[in-house]
Every structure is written in C-alpha cells, then in structure tokens.
Amino acid sequence: MSTVNVIPLKVSGSENQIEHHPAEIGVWLFVFADMCIFAMYFGVFVWEKKLYPAMFEEGQETLSTEFGGLNTVVLLISSFFAAKAVHSARMLNIDAYRRFIKLTMLSGLAFLCVKFLEYSDKFSAGFDIATNEFYRNYFAFTGFHLLHVILGLSFLGWLLISVKTTEQLKGNVKASEGVGLYWHMVDLLWVVLFSLIYLVP
C-alpha cells in the first residue's frame, strides 16, 4: 500500500495557478513595438555618429558619466523592487506588494531627480536640444526615455491607489505583471541608451 507515493496536487502554492506566460499578450506587443521605435533611435544615433565623428566625440566628453551611471544603478535597483513586487503579487502578500511598489516608485522618482540635475547642468553649460546633432539626439532620446519613466510611475501609482486589499490584489496579478514587464523594459532601454550615448567611444 505504502509504495504508492501520493503526489500532492497543490505543489507549493506559490505560483497560484498563474499561466506560463506572465502579463497579457497585449503588453508584450506594446513592449515589442516600443522597442522597435527605440531600435530606430539607436540606429539614427549610430548612423549620425558615423557622419559626424568629431562632434559626437566632443559631445560625449561633456556628458556626465557620474549622473548617467548613478541613474543606471538607480533603475537596476528599481527593477529589483519591481520584480519583488510582482513576486509578492503572485504570493498574494499585500503588505510586501505595496511596500515594493512604493520602493519602485521611490527609485523611479530618484531617477527623475538625477535627470533633473543632469539636464539643468547641461542647460547652464549652454547646451540645449538645438545646439548640434549630438545634443539633439542626447536630449530627444533621453527625454523620450524620461517620458517612459514618468508613464511607468503613473502606472505604478495607479496600482498603489487601486490595490489595497488581498481581494483587490487577486484581480490585479496580471496587471502587476504587465506593469513589471513595462518597468523592466524601461530599465533595459536605459542601460542600452547609457552605454550607447555615454560610454561607447
């Protein structure tokens, strides 16, 4: 009798019947389409760098890798918090979930502050979007990325406002995964932007 091992149906219970792919298919579509636009940005940047090598080299030297690097670290940390928030959503742990959403938002806000300092630094040094091709790309691309961060913050804020109980969290696991996925994309794009604009010689 005892030779048959009864395998428990509920395996750990941590994943709570989540389907195999996280987030809705539409979020993936959004991420794919958005990355196509960013791929065009990267293409334009590389192409113009070939056209005006001296201008781009000179421009890159005026950029602050300290601010850029700090923002990379800030976003990587925020991505960690976002991943923890999604994990807590799957565990239906409302307290941890709200804490990690708040921490993600705080890191996002820190990114905005560093960006503000960096931009005002550039403006006071006399550079703006119309200075030359390098600065046009720098301000337009990082500005477009900044818009994505602000959008991400508003999605996180919406989750924070609308999910206050375990019951509400149950209906918002997919939505949290979607926001988490978006936030990781924003992080990834910043890493590429940072290396491309600030670092690559």
Binding site: E24, I25, G26, V27, L29, F30, A33, D34, I37, M40, Y41, V44, I129, A130, E133, R136, A140, F144, L147, H148, L151
Partner: protein, 243 residues
C-alpha cells in the same frame, strides 16, 4: 441598444472617404506629402507654390473635405465606447471632442497653404512665412490624437464583457501609438532636416503612419468580424473578440 450595422457601414464609408480624399489630395494631387524639407530655400518654396498653383488648391481642398469624414468615424467609435462606461460616458465624450481637435489641426494648415498659393505674385518671403506656419501647425500638435487613443485604450481595458468592443491587445497597441506620436512637439526646434524635423523619421514617418497602421488593423478586424458573424444575428461588436 442601437442597431450597429448601419453605424459600422457609416464608419467604413467615412474611413474610405477620408483615405481617398486625404491621401489623394495630399500625396497625389498637391504633392504636400511626404513633407518637403524645412531646409528648402525661400526661392524653392516660392516657386513650388507659384508653379503648382491649381494643383495645390485642388489637392488641399480634397484633403480638408476628407478630414471632415474623420468625425462620423470617431463619433461612432464613441457610441461603442459609451456602452462600456457606467454613468456619464466621460472617456467617450472626451474621445469625440479630441477627434474634433484632431480634425481642426489637420484641416486648418490646408487653408494657410492655400493662402500662400492664392496670389501667384505674392512675395517669396510671405509665401515662406505661410509655408512654415502651415507645416508647424500640421506637424506639431499630436495631443488630440494621443488623447483619443488613450481614451480608447482605457475604455478598451475596462471592457470585461466576453465580447469587448475591440480586442484587448488593440488597446495596448493604441497606447503604443499614443507614445509613438509624443515626439512631435520637437518639430519647431529644427530648421535643418533631421529625424525630428517636420519631415523627419520620428515626427513624420513614425508619427503619421503608426496611427494609420492602428486604424488599418482595426478595419481588418472589423471586416473579419462582420464576415464571421454574418450568419448569427448577434449584435456585432465593433471589432469583436474572436481574435
């Protein structure tokens, strides 16, 4: 519940009219699209208006009539959206109002360019002024259209019925288009041609064709849906959820 079939027919007819009149007038007859480079010299711009006087006025007239047909299309969209919303249909009304803004900002530059072409002996400087004014007005404001798409996406994502009025992924795609048109306020910064000039990669090619792509996909879905639902007399949703 309103009978949907006539509405869908009107929407399709308006979309076809907009496409034929606007694309025909702007791309084919007047040659305004794709946009000329902002870096053209004063004399080049002036001679363009003086030599194509009649074609420009004909094409621009076709185009502004075509933009008018966007209104029935958008208002019908709001009819479908309003059935999802509870209470006052805020986002549906907002969508229709923003459609009006889109139509006005798309049609108004046509009259400015027409003014430039109106008197053949107008001085090149003044032609240039009107030319710039028209292009900046045409290429810069994208907020009306972005708000329309955001409203559609919000209502689309709120729609929990088994047959939503558009598939959920179309709402996400609408949000992407709203983000894609966001760089257009950069247009007035750039006199030289470049990716953010009024004929640029991001401010014209992406910002103009991504909304068109979205609308085209919507119509493909509507057609597929109408075909699938021809037998059963179910109230055809705008684009259905089979997909």
């Amino acid at each position: 519940m309103t009978d949907r079939k006539p509405l869908i027919i009107v929407a399709v007819v308006s979309a076809v009219m907009t496409t034929i009149l606007y694309a025909g007038g702007m791309f084919y007859v007047s040659g305004f699209l794709p946009p000329p480079s902002p870096a053209l010299s004063q004399l080049e711009v002036a001679s363009f208006y003086q030599q194509n006087h009649t074609a420009i006025i004909t094409g621009l007239t076709m185009a502004f009539v075509g933009t008018g047909f966007m209104l029935p299309l958008c208002v019908i969209g709001s009819v479908f959206m309003a059935e999802v919303e509870e209470g006052f249909p805020y986002f549906s009304v907002m969508q229709a109002l923003c459609a009006l803004a889109t139509v006005i900002f798309t049609a108004l530059p046509n009259f400015i360019w027409m003014t430039a072409a109106f008197r053949v002996d107008r001085s090149p400087e003044l032609i240039n002024l009107l030319h710039d004014l028209g292009w900046i007005m045409w290429a810069t404001p994208s907020w009306g259209f972005a708000f329309q798409l955001i409203c559609v996406a919000i209502v689309g994502l709120k729609d929990k019925r088994p047959k939503p009025f558009i598939p959920r992924w179309m709402s996400y795609l609408a949000l992407w288009v709203a983000v894609g048109v966001a760089p257009t306020p950069l247009v007035p910064f750039f006199v030289e041609a470049g990716p953010f000039a009024w004929n640029g990669l991001f401010t014209f090619w992406v910002a103009f064709f991504s909304p068109i792509l979205w609308i085209a996909i919507l119509f493909v879905i509507i057609v597929i849906n109408i075909r699938n639902n021809e037998q059963d007399n179910h109230q055809g949703d705008l684009a259905g959820s089979q997909l």
